[in-house]
Symmetry: C2
Subunit: 295 residues, 2 copies
């Protein structure tokens, strides 16, 4: 990975993280515990790949970048809530996330449920309230609808149900649909959100959606590869859980080598989709980074 | 309770329930289980007091009533999600709700967490998508912001945290704040939601907010009274849990007789606030009904 893209990712991550407090809800002191739990998980680090994607798309489309910071935060809040709930004992029962105790381990199960609920609810408020710009009313409503779709029953929540109930003989079709919903939909909306906010034309929305879908699948293939090949230190969580749980993954279906080929093709296809946009270099570099990442 | 208000409540409840399928999300067949769990809890009956309040306020304000059906559903979906999550083993651990097994008992804990998450997420989509009316863009965004506030960290979710962590010596001030957040905020927004949607003036919003706050507290005082006096058959759930758990309630603080007086004063104050509106009779009758209800 080139130093240039490393610097770019770091710069955008910092730009995003430094803006969080401008939009994050102010919480009354009686609910300090709730605020602590929400912030614990939201500020637990991570690559901030979703906000960075939104910012990179906004830059490529020549939108005022500071106006996509609230939606970037909303997306990251929804992503964070999903991790908190997925880690719960009745779900994936994970004790570690990014090398730290998961929310229910650091606080309690009930606090974790409520911290997740709070992050999800407040995410929609962030978009409704920010940026304060009367010209964006229609774009904000479209965005809220699309974000709820991506994170809701036909998106992330539905994907989680598919994952939980996956049939052993589901095959590739089931796996792909599952991932499109569980992780792909939120990655895709990270790319398209700025376009909805600024009411872009259908053609741009379609192109960037396809780009997002490729990146979303790529993300999952790489996740499956890393679960097979990486260490706890790399991942900040226990690797090898998938094969132990006999989960349907790219590895279990195709093996390691073929999975890498699939990932390479996804990167190439994604870059191809956007290569005609001026200034698409950073976004292309992010696609390559997602393939090369080690955690 | 007069036959007239009984008929009115039944008529509006049916009007609301018959509209649910017009706005409830269509869910892809792979997530049938999720849809089943969401519908199981949403359609478990109940008084539909929140949708009926929204409809009654819309009638009093002379708004087109069919246009408040989507927001009524959104509010009921959020209310339902909160019941599902509150009933979880790590929260209140309730096995019955409205005489039926709770969601996690009828399905599973993980399905119940996700059904709640799905209802909450899709509620915001319902408002963003319906009614399809370009004149309501600004009203919808204000409504989304206010609904997220009422159900979020400074509202319902925060109230739940306060309830979970209430100090034994919290006293009346803590109790009132807790209830304003936990149940009051959602009752209040049920009353004010139509006004936000139709961009009512500040004075009307303030008056109806105050009415909603009185009704919200009334609702809680009556809940506390019923927990002390009603039977399982009346409530559809186990009564007497509050005193068994030594919870801070109106009963534990003031005793039964004084709690009834407080409730009567809340009804009188609420009716007084709206008596100058033409056609406020039905809304006043609902306030009285909430006091007289037995479940």
């Amino acid at each position: 990975m080139s130093q240039k893209i490393k610097d770019y990712l770091k710069e955008k991550k910092d730009f995003f993280e430094n803006s969080i407090d401008n939009f994050f809800p102010k919480i009354a002191p009686e609910m300090q515990l709730l605020e602590d739990a929400m912030r614990y998980s939201l500020l637990a680090g991570g690559k901030r790949i979703r906000p960075v994607l939104a910012i990179a798309v906004a830059e490529m489309m020549n939108y005022p970048v500071e106006k996509v910071l609230p939606l970037s935060l909303a997306i990251e809040m929804i992503h964070t809530y999903s991790l908190i709930h997925d880690d719960l004992p009745c779900m994936d029962n994970d004790d570690f996330r990014r090398g730290k105790p998961t929310c229910h381990k650091a606080f309690s199960e009930e606090t974790a449920v409520l911290a997740g609920d709070g992050l999800l609810t407040e995410a929609f408020k962030v978009i409704a309230d920010f940026p304060k710009d009367e010209k964006l009313l229609k774009g904000k409503l479209t965005l809220i609808s699309k974000l709820a779709e991506a994170s809701g029953v036909n998106g992330m929540v539905g994907g989680q149900v598919m994952d939980m109930k996956h049939p052993k003989n589901g095959g590739f079709e089931y796996l792909e649909l599952l991932h499109k919903r569980k992780t792909g939909a939120m990655i895709t909306i990270s790319c398209t959100a700025p376009l909805y906010l600024f009411e872009a034309n259908e053609k741009d929305i379609e192109t960037i959606s396809k780009f997002g879908e490729k990146i979303g699948l790529l993300f999952q293939v790489v996740d499956d590869i890393l679960d097979e090949t990486a260490t706890f230190k790399d991942l900040g969580k226990t690797p090898g859980k998938d094969s132990k749980q006999q989960k349907l993954t790219y590895i279990s279906l195709f093996g390691l080598e073929k999975s890498r080929e699939i990932a390479e093709k996804l990167v190439a296809d994604a870059c191809d989709l956007i290569k005609n946009y001026k200034n698409s270099e950073n976004l292309q570099a992010i696609a390559k980074y997602i393939y090369e990442r080690t955690n």
